[in-house]
């Protein structure tokens, strides 16, 4: 009886296995005439994955000779791994026609061996085992040499011009309309006796746009302190609240009016995007600020805020590095800082030579970008039009130099 039961269970499991998806079943020969026999992959090679922290290996193989897209005999390859001479276990699988796989999450103090099998609908052909290997750690990623060089060049340019300016050399910086208007906008609020509303976007301090907004706040708050204007700053993040308070407090202390500072100038509303917008809209229509700064990371709420600000007659200076929101600021605000101008604003407003030097430094980056694009486009166009390989190669070299694959 017991044997009959075992036989029955085996029979059922065999028939179920034959129908199951290939993903996790091992091959079983149900009926030899229906078996789609295939050859295994060959020349399976495992090697260290370059420039990592000893946690990856790279596996390559020559696909099975039966791996041809038109007949679809091979459905996938399975990868088996043996750790520290233990038994082989299935760790991954890839689709047919793939011939390499990065094996991740390994440890430096273990040894590994691999096997790859080709799998048809009902057959599995395993390759030979690879050599036993350990992962290696590299201390410097030479794949990123070009990134390092260009970043070093631009960083050096920025630092060089900061230093040059610090030593007293006059540097020219063109006028930026939106920033020229800051003084007037603050003056207007002072004259009208109405507050200034400063909205630093809805992201936290881990967004560089928020950092830019806080640095601009430093300059705006300094003028606000000098003019004794009222500033109001509702925020959507607690950390931004802390940083903004420190910033405004510093500005008041530098202006020699520490007593005029009050923590209530900055207050937390809610982390929720539209909850924050509902509150700020309310503040706008009730307190009717004379000037509104909308600087930082903005999303869909940009237009709601800018339009409400516009409806209360405030002079609005906006800026963000999110291209999708810029059109709405342009439509509804008086001045808009476009992308890079947002990051340049605090340097510009400070008027300090060393800060302006940093702007000249980033212009070097733009000059390099323009030069490289012009040379690259002309040489590839000439190369392709006249079949001159030399020109095409120039562009390919520049392109590979500028393409970073991390």
């Amino acid at each position: 009886m017991k044997f009959i039961s075992i036989y029955f269970v085996l029979l059922v499991s065999l028939s179920v296995s034959a129908q199951t998806n290939d993903n996790d079943s091992t091959s079983l020969l149900v009926n030899d005439s229906l078996t789609i026999k295939i050859a295994p992959p060959t020349s399976v090679i495992v090697e260290d994955y370059k420039y990592d922290d000893a946690d990856n290996l790279q596996l390559h193989w020559v696909p099975s000779i039966d791996d041809m897209p038109q007949d679809g005999k091979v459905v996938r390859y399975r990868i088996y791994q043996s750790t520290n001479n233990g038994s082989f276990v299935l760790v991954d699988s890839v689709n047919f026609s793939v011939n390499m796989k990065k094996i991740e999450g390994l440890a430096i103090d273990s040894t590994y061996q691999f096997m790859v099998s080709a799998v048809s609908k009902n057959y599995e052909a395993k390759s030979n085992k690879t050599i036993t290997i350990q992962t290696e750690r590299e201390w410097i990623n030479f794949n990123l040499a070009s990134l390092f060089l260009i970043a070093l060049l631009i960083t050096s340019a920025v630092i060089y011009f900061i230093e040059t300016a610090r030593r007293g050399k006059e540097l020219f910086v063109r006028k930026i309309a939106g920033l020229e208007a800051v003084d007037e906008a603050i003056g207007r609020a002072t004259e009208m006796g109405r507050p200034i509303l400063f909205i630093p976007g809805i992201h936290d301090m881990d967004d560089v746009q928020t950092l830019a907004a806080i640095t601009i706040l430093g300059k705006v708050a300094r003028q606000v302190a000098d003019y004794d204007t009222k500033i109001r700053m509702p925020v959507a993040r607690s950390l931004v609240m802390t940083a903004a308070r420190e910033t405004i407090k510093t500005a008041y202390q530098t202006a020699g009016r520490p007593d005029a500072y009050n923590d209530d100038m900055v207050n937390y509303i809610t982390d929720e995007q539209f909850g924050y917008v509902a509150a700020v809209d309310g503040i706008m229509v009730r307190e009717k600020p004379a000037t509104i700064f909308l600087l930082g990371a903005f999303f869909a709420e940009s237009l709601i805020l800018a339009e409400t600000g516009n409806s209360v007659g405030a002079i609005q200076i906006a800026g963000t590095a999110r291209p999708a929101q810029l059109p709405f600021f342009i439509a509804a605000c008086d001045f808009t800082l476009i992308g890079e101008e947002l990051f340049a604003a605090s340097a510009y407003l400070s008027g300090e030579p060393k800060m302006l030097g940093s702007l000249k430094g980033q212009d070097v980056g733009k000059a390099i970008a323009m030069g490289v694009i012009i040379v690259g486009v002309i040489s590839i166009t000439l190369g392709e039009a006249y079949g001159i390989e030399f020109f095409s190669n120039i562009t390919s070299s520049i392109q590979s130099f500028f393409t970073v694959n991390k």
Binding site: Y51, D52, D53, E138, N141, F148, A151, V158, I159, I162, D204, D206, T215, L217, A221, R237, S238, L239, T242, E246, T247, K249, T250, A251, Q253, D264, N267, Y268, E272, Q273, F274, G275, A278, R286, A300, L303, I304, A306, E307, A321, P323, P327, I330, A331, A332, I338, G339, E340, E341, F343, A344, S346, K354, M355, S358, L359, Q362, G365, K366, A369
Partner: protein, 225 residues
């Protein structure tokens, strides 16, 4: 001293993270920072949440304008906190998920939070209409370009746009509005967008260096504070 230590922290942490890109054993530092940041942000919420409660209590005690609405805010805040912390109405025990179906937290989220959020978002339809009206009163050449581009893209996504230029022969199909819209998106629009994006990349380098080098430091307060 009060300002020197934070300046050193900013410099060291910033420099290490820049270099970590090139040093494989340090490549996980960025992920660790994200984790640290999330944890710090939760602690910081005690300051933010505390401020919210204090501001509204103050409004109530001083009977400032609209102080009655502060009661509503505080009730909403504390009810949500209690519903989440004590898992009120959760079908499972205290270990069940805070957002489990049937919980008070989830019920308020669905019936209050979601409709309020979606409606605020939907207000955009009206604001986009008023902004369009303003933008479309083109004042100069630049504004006209914005207007024309917006109009082509807008028409290109409607059947009316297709109908309007359906008479244009196939050999001039680029001038059919839907095709023109696609061309506009993939060429001049892409060009402008790339210029902005490259500029942003360089702008971030510059401001990051100013922060790491301590040139921008107002957020660190004053030595006398």
């Amino acid at each position: 001293m009060k300002r020197l230590v934070p300046l050193i922290i900013t410099f060291v942490v910033g420099t290490v993270l820049i270099l970590s890109v090139f040093i494989p054993p340090m490549e996980g530092l960025g992920e660790n920072f994200t984790l640290f940041f999330d944890i710090i942000a939760v602690f910081a919420f005690f300051l933010g949440g505390g401020n919210l409660v204090r501001v509204h209590f103050q409004k109530m005690s001083r009977k400032s304008d609209d102080w009655e609405f502060s009661i509503v805010t505080l009730v909403g805040f504390f009810v949500m906190l209690a519903a989440g912390l004590f898992k009120i109405g959760n079908p499972g025990d205290i270990a069940s998920s805070v957002t489990a179906d049937g919980s008070l937290f989830q019920a308020i989220y669905r019936s209050v939070f979601v409709p309020l959020s979606s409606t605020m978002y939907a207000l955009l339809a009206f604001f986009v209409a008023s902004a369009s009206y303003r933008a479309f009163r083109a004042k100069n050449r630049e504004a006209t370009l914005l207007l024309v581009a917006a109009f082509i893209i807008l028409l290109g996504s409607t059947p009316f746009g297709t109908m309007l230029t359906s008479w244009v022969p196939e050999s001039w199909s680029i001038f059919q509005i839907p095709n023109l819209a696609v061309w506009l998106m993939s060429s001049p629009n892409l060009a402008g967008q790339r210029a902005i994006i490259i500029g942003i990349g360089l702008g971030v380098v510059s401001i990051s260096l100013r922060l790491i080098l301590g040139l921008e430091r107002t957020y660190l307060g004053d030595d006398n504070a």
